[in-house]
């Protein structure tokens, strides 16, 4: 076993939360599932929170639809493997219900159209609810390790900033303005507010403004609870028991995004505990690409020439990938770098996850 491969097992053993982050399309969901499976194999009680997994992977994990509670996946392992597919809206609903003063306040909020829009569409809501869910799983259920897949975002810190963004939104100056009329403040504020609302209504229509007003009135008094919860979630994410895994692929554009993610995490004092590179072209060995290409040219038109050309193709792309990854590895040092080769077949079931595990934990 190499140091890097042992390091991934240590990471699972020593952290109670593992966050997989990276750009879209690099295999974060699959990686999260493989890590959770391995944790179960190590005898741990693990749960993976996925966001929008591909259908066959969801089927393989026994996820039949969005659920708010984890379900156990049966298998031959000493630990336990649980999985759940994040349902942003019901997670948000539970958060509202848990923070409301009474069921009537909760009902007023849950029925409001503006709330329904926020819970489904406010940018960052999905990120925040993923974090909220992992906090809840960590706090209330007795899992050894919670592994979470993050939504594809352009900015690694979106999900870290999401709790703050939501509370900032709820704390917005405008929100204060909107609430002031009901608090019976002076008419001057009222007039200014009304003028502003009229201009907004001009753009989006009066109904929308009416819904928003009703929402903020219903929400009054709950913002403190929300803020406290958000700061506890943030605290957990920046604690030592949380490990961040950066997932990437060896293409130039994706590596550039990964470097950007790594920098942002470093700025926030969050160490990257491992770098996992998916879909690396396999190294078949042999001479360097230039020499092979030359052989292919000399032998053009023969089967051997084509065999050389093919090997040269893989050696060429392999060398480029090595170059990109060397720079990235340096920027996350001392985190171990684990490469998962581009496999000869696609991954969409437990056997496929096992094959990846072979490369991650060989």
């Amino acid at each position: 076993m190499t140091a890097a491969e042992g390091a991934l097992r240590d990471m699972l053993r020593n952290h109670s939360i593992v966050v997989c982050t990276g750009s879209g399309g690099v295999g974060k969901t699959t990686t999260a599932a493989v890590l959770a499976l391995e944790a179960a194999r190590m005898g741990l009680r693990s749960v993976v929170v996925t966001i929008d997994p591909a259908k066959r992977l969801a089927d393989a994990l026994g996820l039949e639809g969005l659920t708010d509670a984890p379900s156990e996946i049966e298998g031959e392992w000493p630990g336990e493997l649980w999985a759940l597919m994040l349902d942003t809206k019901s997670t948000f609903d539970a958060l509202v219900t848990g923070n409301a003063a009474d069921p009537a306040q909760a009902a007023r909020i849950l029925d409001n159209r503006f709330y329904r829009n926020i819970s489904g569409a406010l940018s960052g809501t999905q990120e925040y609810m993923a974090m909220e869910k992992l906090y809840e799983l960590h706090e209330t259920l007795d899992f050894d390790v919670v592994i979470v897949d993050t939504p594809p975002t352009r900015n690694a810190l979106d999900f870290l900033e999401a709790p703050r963004r939501l509370t900032r939104f709820l704390d917005h100056r405008l929100y204060r303005l909107l609430l002031s009329p009901t608090r019976g403040l002076g008419k001057a504020v009222n007039v200014a507010t009304q003028a502003f609302l009229r201009t907004v209504a001009k753009v989006v229509g009066a109904e929308v403004v009416e819904d928003a007003l009703t929402f903020f009135q219903a929400f009054d008094g709950m913002e403190q609870g929300f803020k406290e919860r958000a700061s506890r979630v943030l605290e957990l994410l920046s604690a030592d028991e949380t490990a961040f895994v950066l997932v990437t692929a060896p293409r130039r554009d994706v590596v550039a995004e990964a470097r950007y993610f790594a920098e942002k995490l470093a700025d926030a004092d969050i160490p990257v505990r491992a770098l996992i590179v998916n879909r690396v072209h396999p190294d078949f060995g042999g001479a360097d690409a230039g020499a092979l290409r030359e052989r292919a040219r000399t032998l053009a038109g023969t089967d051997l020439g084509n065999l050389y050309a093919n090997l040269a193709d893989f050696r060429t792309v392999g060398a480029m990938e090595d170059e990109h990854l060397a720079g990235l590895a340096a920027s996350v040092a001392p985190a171990p770098v684990v490469r998962v080769p581009y496999l000869a077949s696609d991954v969409h079931d437990l056997d496929g996850l096992d094959e990846i595990a072979l490369h991650l934990f060989r």
Binding site: S23, G24, G25, D52, A54, K55, R56, L57, F114, N117, I118, G120, A121, L122, P152, R154, F169, H172, L174, F196, T199, V200, A201, K202, V203, V204, G205, A206, E207, A212, A249, P250, R251, R252, D253, V254, A256, P282, F284, G285, G286, A287, T302, D303, L304, G305, N306, L307, A309, N310, L311, D313, F314, T316, V317, M320, E321, H324, A344, D346
Partner: protein, 325 residues
């Protein structure tokens, strides 16, 4: 089908697909191909990705239009230009064009745009699509290629006008949503080109996306672009030792194994690709344009030209009504 006729079918082409399948590559490819047959092309980016500019060997571009590859030259090709659209700037521009610059400063300056966008989700999308519609009506280029957000988002992105028509029943946003919907549902003005890789998961997602876009948005779908196909290469099933004997060449120690391993890998990927192409054809009655897998991690102008040539060949192979081959 004649490529010039293909690209003239609608002024707007929206390129959509799951993350990682090469949407931006395909946007660059189609733009370059259209420019090569003489159409000035504007690529519209909505995610501020740097990849597009470097594919043309150019520095990153912004909200203002930049030339990625100039027209003229021996091939007589036209310009490929590009710009990034952001909802905030599109909104400012919209409000200023409609004599509401005072409101606009207040909306954007106070951060209220987030609040308004929350009140009626889809507003940011409609601002971008509204700007695309304006570029279309003012004929900013012969062809507008919109590099859409990744798949899940692409559906909500394109569904935004319908959703907004329900949420906002009056006013300029409503009018904008109506205009955008007219554009999206008119096959003479707009078509969506879906991109996939010849792999199981992306093909599944593409099929799902295709049906939801047709049913829920009512857009017209152009041919599907399948990206990353390994090119045919004879002799990959020949044993390297036998191939060497036939060619009268000798192999270095260990080389037979390296050659055989690489050949086996490529053949198994190719078999898988062929299977997925068949499945795609069975599950989705749309014609396909195939682009080759390039053995590089850094696409540059020469690669884009190569892909554009493959796209043009694929378009020529389509039947005249665009449904074949």
């Amino acid at each position: 089908m004649d490529p010039a006729q293909f690209f003239a079918a609608s002024r707007v082409v929206i390129v959509a697909g799951k993350g990682g399948v090469g949407k931006t590559t395909v946007s660059a490819t189609l733009a370059r191909a259209a420019a090569q047959v003489g159409l000035t092309t504007l690529v519209v980016d909505v995610e501020g990705k740097s990849g597009l500019a470097s594919m043309f060997g150019q520095p990153a571009f912004t909200y203002d239009e930049a030339v990625l590859s100039p027209g003229g030259g021996p091939g007589g090709s036209a310009d490929v230009r590009a710009r990034t659209l952001t909802p905030d700037l599109a909104l400012l521009e919209y409000l200023e064009d409609h004599g509401l610059s005072k409101v606009s400063r207040r909306l954007v300056g106070s951060g209220a745009i987030d609040m308004v966008a929350t009140a009626a989700p889809g507003i940011k999308d409609i601002l971008i699509l509204g700007k695309v519609k304006q570029l279309e009506t003012t004929a900013a280029a012969d062809l507008l290629v919109l590099d859409a957000p990744a798949a899940g988002h692409a559906i909500s992105f394109l569904r935004s006008p319908r959703g907004l028509l329900d949420a906002v029943r009056v006013g300029p946003i409503n009018a904008q949503a109506r205009d955008v919907l007219d554009l999206l549902t008119d096959p003479q003005r707009c078509q969506v080109i879906l991109v996939t890789l010849p792999e199981e998961t992306p093909v599944n997602e593409l099929v799902e996306t295709a049906y939801s876009l047709e049913d829920e948005v009512g857009v017209s779908l152009g041919p599907v672009v399948v990206n990353g196909l390994y090119a045919e290469l004879d002799g990959l099933d020949t044993d390297p030792v036998a191939a060497a004997a036939a060619a009268g060449a000798s192999l270095r120690p260990g080389e037979a194994d390296h050659l055989a391993a690489a050949a086996t890998f490529r053949r198994s990927r190719m078999a898988l690709q062929a299977e997925q192409l068949d499945r795609l054809a069975t599950e989705l009655p749309l014609s396909q344009i195939h682009l080759p897998h390039l053995f590089t991690t850094d696409l540059g102008p020469a690669d884009v030209d190569l892909l554009a040539a493959a796209a043009l060949a694929g378009i020529r192979a389509l039947s005249a009504d665009g449904t074949g081959p």
